[in-house]
């Protein structure tokens, strides 16, 4: 395939897509086994090779669904949503773990990653008193298992699959 790249190079670009995406689609299953999808702000930690989401307790239904079945999928798609130089449409398949033993402070370790995506977030956080429950948040940590990559976002070409060892 002419556009096929070395996997490590492609993986670097995929990581950049995840790091630079403003939104992604998180899919998990509900108690009936149906797929449930929600747009989320992805926070990718390149050092830990983990994808994170924070979820307010206001929107806690997904936390319970994910705790029931940790298999999830995350789609990065949409050129205008990704600031990275190289764009690929990426489906991540992985296992999710919910951290919900504490809601007030633990998620704040992800603030530096959040700040990169939404620089104004600190201004909102300073006014935490205005929306107290919104800032009570759980963390969803995703360990990637496999990436399916449509190089250059071209859906007419076969995707490249990268398995994470």
């Amino acid at each position: 395939m002419p556009h096929f790249k070395e996997q490590t190079e492609l993986m670097d670009e995929v990581e950049e897509v995840m790091r630079q995406s403003l939104v992604c689609i998180l899919t998990f299953t509900n108690e009936k086994g149906e797929p449930v999808s929600h747009p989320m702000l992805p926070l990718y930690d390149k050092e830990l090779k983990r994808l994170y989401f924070t979820s307010s307790v206001l929107f806690s239904k997904k936390l319970e669904d994910i705790k029931r079945n940790g298999n999830v999928s995350v789609l990065f798609q949409g050129r205008s949503f990704v600031k990275a130089e190289k764009y690929h449409a990426v489906t991540l398949k992985g296992s999710a773990r919910v951290e919900d033993e504490e809601f007030s402070e633990r998620w704040m370790r992800l603030l530096p990653l959040w700040r990169e995506k939404e620089p104004y977030i600190d201004a909102y956080l300073k006014r935490r008193v205005a929306l107290p429950l919104f800032w009570e948040r759980a963390v969803i940590e995703i360990t990637p298992r496999e990436y399916v990559v449509w190089v250059d976002g071209d859906l007419s070409r076969p995707p490249v699959t990268i398995r994470v060892s």
Partner: protein, 454 residues
């Protein structure tokens, strides 16, 4: 399962579309897809290369339309998404998805703050359940100071400050001023106001007015301290008792010092208004009498009381001054009732704004502002008040701006927020300048050697 209709016009507002399904191993998968509306209740779905259509046929399939508008400074706005849960089948080599349920959120239709408010009960249930599982209690952590500010609605205490200041300023103009008495009055009235705010929250939560309100603003909809679980009912009751106790203690001290019958009567009337503002069976605020109660409490009761503790006499002047002051403070409540009105109506809290038509609400607002300024002018021109109180007219242009803003944004809760704040600035500012007019009058008369009254 019945199918639902698809509105192609609605879908044109989204940038991206994806599909989700559960593969044969039971893992959820989301992939970029292309869709077309084939029929009013059917999508034609095109999967990307690499996804076998046999993987999805006969399974539940979620189609999700998504949009954000990235901002040049980073971040995004105009969030919206719309998800259709579908049955999917193969027909003539095409994949056809029939939606049977939809969910989503459009920030343009349900503002973010309201979206959050709609899910408060879910959050509380979740925190309670996790608390039971972990043997712990989860409450939003705002820090002691922020929690106290939120529970007591502390910024609203400015209304009390203005009323006390007005009464004391009139006394000061007449040559009476005791700093300790003034400080005690201020603390006593502020404590009473805190108790009032918390009693109001307790009963508005219990009677449903605040619970039904899913569009609170920083100025309306109550403190929501019980609704958000910032404080327990028991602790709130204790705080009410503590602040009421402070007021009663100071009231008793001032009564012994300045006049038992007079101060006791004012304190008793004040507590009647504070408690029965929302407490059953009287519930003044629920009967269209809350506005009058506030005007009476923050006007004559506090202004005359603050004057009396300084002078130990009743006089006409503080009574007259208390009218515009009471009207101004009442206008804070009156305008803040506008965004609350649909929810107040649902909870049978029949405030004036609930009872009146929109045009009448605005006419009354205009009339009360005009009456306030008119009284100030009349007092100055008839020699009741020093001419320096006319400084309060400086706020007239701002009043016109705020009035117009409230009128234009009526029924647009979140757009009205700046004008709710503006109305508070206006009323507090006008009240403060009125009091200031009295405060500077005496030194000016001494300095100029002429009386400043006509």
């Amino acid at each position: 399962m019945g199918s639902i209709e698809i509105d192609p016009k609605e879908l044109s507002r989204f940038t991206e579309v994806s599909g989700s399904y559960v593969d044969k191993e039971g893992n959820p998968v989301s992939v970029p897809i292309e869709v077309e509306v084939k029929a009013p209740n059917e999508f034609r779905v095109k999967l990307p290369r690499g996804v076998d259509p046999r993987e999805v046929v006969g399974r539940k399939f979620t189609i999700i339309f998504n949009h954000i508008t990235p901002l040049p400074i980073g971040g995004y706005t105009e969030r919206r998404y719309l998800a259709y849960r579908c049955e999917i089948r193969s027909e003539g080599g095409e994949l056809i998805a029939t939606p049977y349920r939809r969910y989503g959120w459009d920030e343009g239709k349900i503002p973010f703050f309201q979206y959050c408010e709609l899910t408060v009960n879910n959050a509380k249930k979740y925190l309670k359940r996790r608390g039971l599982e972990l043997g712990s209690t989860f409450r939003p952590k705002l820090g002691a100071i922020n929690t106290f500010i939120r529970i007591t609605r502390l910024p609203f205490l400015l209304a009390s400050v203005i009323s006390v200041l007005a009464g004391a300023s009139v006394a000061f103009y007449q040559g009476y001023f005791d700093a300790l008495i003034f400080a005690l009055t201020m603390i006593g009235i502020a404590s009473a106001h805190i108790a009032l705010n918390m009693i109001n929250d307790y009963f508005d939560t219990k009677l449903g007015a605040d619970v039904m309100n899913v569009a609170p603003t920083p100025f309306s909809g109550g403190s929501r301290s019980l609704i958000y679980g910032l404080v327990t009912t028991g602790r709130l009751t204790l705080l009410i008792a503590v602040f009421s106790g402070i007021t009663l203690g100071i009231g008793a001290y001032l009564a012994v010092l300045r006049g038992v019958f007079q101060i006791s009567s004012l304190v008793a009337l004040g507590f009647f208004l504070i408690y029965f503002y929302t407490a059953p069976p009287i519930k003044l605020a629920y009967r269209g009498l809350g506005e009058l109660a506030v005007a009476l409490g923050f006007g004559p009761v506090i202004v005359i009381g603050s004057y009396f503790v300084q002078t130990q006499q009743f006089a006409l002047e503080p009574v007259l001054v208390s009218i515009p002051v009471g009207l101004l403070i009442m206008l804070i409540l009156y305008v803040n009732e506008i965004p609350d009105s649909p929810y107040d109506a649902a909870a049978h809290k029949r405030t004036l704004v609930v009872r009146l038509r929109r045009e009448t609400v605005m006419s009354m607002y205009r009339l009360m502002l005009a009456t306030t300024y008119g009284l100030i002018v009349a007092y100055a021109l008839t020699g009741i008040a020093p001419l320096t109180v006319l400084l309060a007219l400086l706020t007239v242009p701002y009043a016109a701006r705020v009035y117009r803003g409230v009128k234009v944004t009526y029924n647009q809760t979140y757009n009205m927020i700046p004008y709710l704040g503006g109305n508070i600035n206006l009323t507090i500012g006008t009240g403060a300048i009125l009091a200031f007019g009295y405060l500077i009058a005496r030194p000016l008369e001494i300095l100029l050697g002429v009386p400043l009254t006509l």
